[in-house]
Assembly symmetry: C2
Homo-oligomer: 202 residues x 2
DNA sequence: GTATTATGTTAGCAGTGTCAACATTAAAAT
DNA sequence: ATTTTAATGTTGACACTGCTAACATAATAC
């Protein structure tokens, strides 16, 4: 009588999946448990996602949209400050939403072009970084800007990975020499300073 | 009669798993199929690996050892050339062994400290980069060297990710503006030049 | 040579992605 | 307004997974 049809299942599944994904990691996310959590039969999600990868793509898209929002916050007039601030937000997003970040940049969805909206959201993030850097850079040559944006993105992406490892590692290992942790920890303790130097040095 | 005991199962499983992992991605690797491929019962691997993560750790360790070998090849006297060559080998390893690379740097084994030999192998790679850079760098300050090594590593790691996306993407998208692919492709076409500039600019 | 330990096997549990067949309802076509 | 159709839900099933317990056999230590 009341609710054979759910009404808003698709969006609820995506939201719920995003939560589980962030809490437990995307490998722990199962379509069946997802269905259970939404009080719906085990195969109901298949009316909205043909495969699990389709669901992953949706979560990843939401992730890129959130990342875009995060790095678009700064409203400063100083183009360098904006770039530094965006970089910081990027690192924050990657470390605070690390499981989702994994899904976004890992191999769960190997080919973004299969999912146009995901492809678009991901590229928007890149385009935004390009815009910020173009505004900051003295050298306005397009090829130069593009290459430097790759540099920035690659660098930030790598840092996210390292900062995450830092969180997992036992505290005493942070002081262990011959290990990247000490250096990363130093960076982490003065992120602003580090990022300012980084941007300036590009 | 002949072979109730296999004799060398553990190593064969690791080798076989490495192959499957590289061919199909580590998510496709199953202990059962692995056992089948070695003509052994479904649960035999559990005598050698308590959990799947233990097996992953072993594959990852092998990966780090191979990465170490790869970036240690150059025998040039010129410290800059050595660094450039090692960087190139790093990128090559990451793109040619991309599925294994995923396993090594992803979340399949979240905490390396649980696996001492893996931890050691991974750190050896980092130490090697440190050594190469320390030999090259004019500035011998330890803190400086450590931070720059993080920079190098992060940068290379990020590039691996981008280069891999490039391989997946349809050819025509490479020429699409507002997309990182064109820039990455340019870099890829002259990797040596790019890396030389990169190292010089550090 | 016997006891112990390492390494293999079989049977089975609970959970998974996915599909086919069927049920119900909302939306569109008439 | 009624009927058709498409969307969205459910049940049941298949083949697969990680993993455990109970048992079998072989290598090793004494």
């Amino acid at each position: 009588m009341s609710s054979y049809h759910h009404g808003n299942l698709k969006q609820e599944l995506i939201s719920c999946a995003s939560k589980i994904c962030e809490r437990d990691g995307y490998t722990k996310l199962s379509i069946r448990s997802l269905a259970k959590e939404s009080n719906v039969s085990q195969t109901a999600p298949y009316r909205h996602f043909k495969t699990k990868e389709d669901l992953y793509a949706e979560i990843a898209r939401e992730g890129f949209d959130n990342l875009h929002k995060a790095i678009s916050k700064s409203k400063s007039q100083n183009t360098q400050d904006v770039l530094v601030s965006a970089s910081k937000e990027y690192l924050k997003f990657g470390t605070k939403n690390s499981n989702t970040y994994d899904l976004m940049f890992g191999t769960a969805v190997p080919d973004f072009t299969k999912y146009p909206s995901l492809f678009k959201s991901a590229n928007s993030v890149y385009r935004h970084i390009t815009t910020l850097f173009a505004a900051y850079s003295k050298n306005k040559d397009s090829k130069f800007i593009q290459e430097k944006c790759i540099d920035i993105w690659a660098h930030l992406h790598g840092l996210v990975g390292l900062l995450r490892k830092l969180e997992v590692v036992p505290a005493k290992l942070v002081e262990m020499p011959d290990t990247p942790f000490m250096a990363v920890n130093k960076i982490n303790e003065d992120l602003d300073g580090y990022l300012k130097r980084f941007i300036k040095n590009i």
